[in-house]
Subunit: 275 residues, 4 copies
């Protein structure tokens, strides 16, 4: 049984919550707690190896928490996702393979692409692929079609697996803390569209990738995971891009694993990750 | 205020302990808890940003715990260490520099060497250096002299900073979970005395170092920290040793930082590290 | 144009070879050279950005080299591989995806499994899968069937992508320096069959994976690439195995990339890798 | 014997140079060569395990190179450095320890600080410390005093070991490719003065450090080495700074090791590093 709590902090919160858990006979296997002192914000993740009635438990827990607290008991274990892509295959293929072998921690409902390139790989895994070209209408129309498809599927999360269009504030606002992106650089270095070209010009010795929740500030949403790999003077901009794809695949997989196992809390522009 | 607890697990432990903390008005900043299910063993580290009377607190906590529980309230903040060395300077110098600038998290009381090589660097930092040669008498005599010096100083921990003599079971038994070693390889690969030669012969592409508590099984004590660095075919055995020294210095520093900040629990042959 | 040379070393080798290249009008983009002093062994890899007639070039180069020198001009660019698997999908799926998108650096001819589990994923990518059960006959019969399939395909390399049977000396001798394995540990730690159980029991803080050429010494062949990832006390043996699969996939991909781009020389029990 | 060459590229350069080396009886142990195709620029580093008369060799080599080529035969092996510091001890202490034990690859002639904080540690190692306060006069006067001290010592390199004043274009121009800085972030992220505060606000999961040659573009000079370490939500800005100091020490040490072993070429705003 998984219990997630986020609220304003006060003395005795852990005691009050854990007393309820003990009264319910729950055996805590892992308890992670963090207080962001600068914001007086309390975060807690509890894993118990047995179960109790969740609605009664939530009610009991809410009674000891401040009114605006966020509580989640056994967040949906069979999470569903819709994946948005453009042309690059590496992140999508990794997701499809894990989906196929039931190790993704979520189920891929469908893939939406603004180019037809990745339809074939989706078909190989019997995953519906919807082509929504950004050239058919204006952005409003384009995003409207994507939102229709998302609404039909009702996913928990929307994963941007190298989706190269910038989403409008309206779109982003419709799915707060539910859109996960992989950015092709070690943010905040090289924000924007051509990070490998920039990295090459700058002669960096490491390149990185960043997975983050999407907000309306481009490339500025809460960071979930980051990784780097070494490069050197022999790397052309293309070589850096190739090396970058490896690390993009890896860091998005890691971020999804963390999010899908309910280990990531979002508050303001940061994450608390109980690895 | 720091509270450390290790005991047999049971339902309600977190609740009972945290109720006591709340009653004492302690504001928990960070709570880390882990249950080793295979051993039914409970570990907890609590950091509060205010204080209460420690003896009364310990008494209250012990009342709710199984009889053999280990409880430590505010473990000595001004820890003291004795450092044992042979000839190599890199780990000792790093410790002496941090000691000098009060960033070690402990105070170096003295250094004991079985060779005179490192007396000079100790003098530069006004740290007493005691030469105890292993050639003056037998092992019993040798270790007896070292133990006298340790007893005079009464350190919390004994740090083997590239001390190249194997300590007897009697010696080790006198300081359980208090002797910290840096081993010059990625254990359990290359246990024993010539790991860099072995690594070179094997053509490995990474070399590592391991810091661990010392037990009577050579190189088999509970591991605190491990790190690796890449090497390649151009490295001679000597080059690997040089690269290894860098990583030895780094991993011992990290292990000491973890131990001195009371983040490491030992149980059987493993550690629980609340980083 | 790629030129690979391995031979006994002597003064003037670089000069003699590069004079031939200059006379042929080749423009050297990258020259890597290494002399293993302990063995007096010379290794060179040259990349030129233009071409010349390869047979005449090889003849000219061989004339200035010791008789037993190994020379390879433009090693087959369209390399072919046969992949051997058992039950685990992660390495195979990664190879199939890269094969599908032409980024593997080689072509997968077929997959041979001693269990039927991975037939489905092969079918999705239209790659022939051959089931050769180790239970149908003795080891001689089992390996005979596999060798027949290999001979039918004539691959450059045989990739053991989590193939869990130990190959006989005869089998290994038939494909010297052509069988690439991924071993599920940081060799030489935890050689043998249950490394994650061993790593868990030992309480390590890093786990690794090793890709190596297969020789008749179990897990002792020349190492191509190694990587590690951090683990901690919360990892069960199963968690370590899961984390290990990620690093196994990554390190095998890296090793294949190096081998398929003709950057790996083998000599005795080591590799020279011109990354 | 070490030979360094940088020039415009042309066909046959390697052949012509290596023919000269062979004629001189030099036995090449390691040859590294790189051509930057975008700039048609040639870089070569040769290590031989015997010697020949250097002036004749340089003359012979220059004869086959374009007129503006840079050639360096046996670059000064006993390099000398002057270290500039402000208040932070970690990089300086690491340099002083290596200097003391002859493992720095250079000799520290003196340390110049704009605060008196680090005089004590210099005295412990008998290294002259010169206080040049930036408050005594204007920048012109301040830098004038520092340059006088540098001129008195005639160092090969000037190492900014956490020197927190921005040097003027005149100062920088006086020591082209000879001033090495450690920047407290993973450039180009967080250029400027408060990177750890910025990293904390941004909620990054990795922090880094960059060592680079100083040019007149602030934090924009050719990068020599970069490293990162993981951080998480529990890190305050101060914790990030502490973790950053560890990586700063490590990356500056690495950069100095590369520069002092003559493995770093500078061209325009990048480095070629033959590790």
């Amino acid at each position: 049984m998984i219990i997630l709590i986020q609220s304003v902090d006060r003395v005795g919160l852990v005691a009050d919550v854990s007393a309820i858990l003990a009264k319910s006979g729950l055996n805590i296997v892992s308890l992670r707690e963090f207080v962001d002192k600068s914001d007086n914000r309390f975060f807690m993740r509890i894993a118990a190896d047995n179960e109790t009635e969740p609605i009664a438990l939530e009610t009991a827990i809410r009674e000891v928490l401040p009114p605006d607290a966020l509580v989640s008991i056994n967040p949906r274990p069979d999470k569903k996702i819709v994946v948005l892509v453009t042309r690059e295959y590496h992140c999508l293929a990794d997701i499809l393979v894990r989906n196929q072998f039931n190790t993704l921690g979520a189920t891929v409902q469908c893939v939406i692409g603004n180019h037809p390139h990745l339809e074939n790989i989706c078909k190989r895994f019997n995953i519906p692929f919807h082509l929504v070209s950004h050239e058919e209408g204006d952005k409003f129309y384009f995003e409207g079609r994507i939102r229709e498809l998302i609404e039909e599927n009702g996913p928990d999360y929307i994963v941007l697996a190298k989706f190269m269009r910038i989403l409008s504030p309206d779109f982003v606002a419709a799915y707060p803390e539910r859109i996960i992106n992989i950015h092709h650089s070690f943010l905040p270095a090289f924000a924007g569209g051509h990070p490998y070209r920039q990295a090459f010009e700058r002669g960096v010795k490491l390149i990185g990738a960043t997975s983050h929740f999407v907000t309306n500030e481009l490339d500025e949403g809460p960071i979930i995971a980051q990784q780097v790999i070494p490069v050197n003077h022999t790397y052309t901009a293309t070589d850096m891009m190739k090396a970058g794809k490896e690390i993009e695949t890896s860091v998005l997989a890691r971020a999804l694993q963390l999010v899908f196992s309910d280990r990531v809390f979002v508050y303001r522009n940061k994450t608390v990750v109980f690895e």
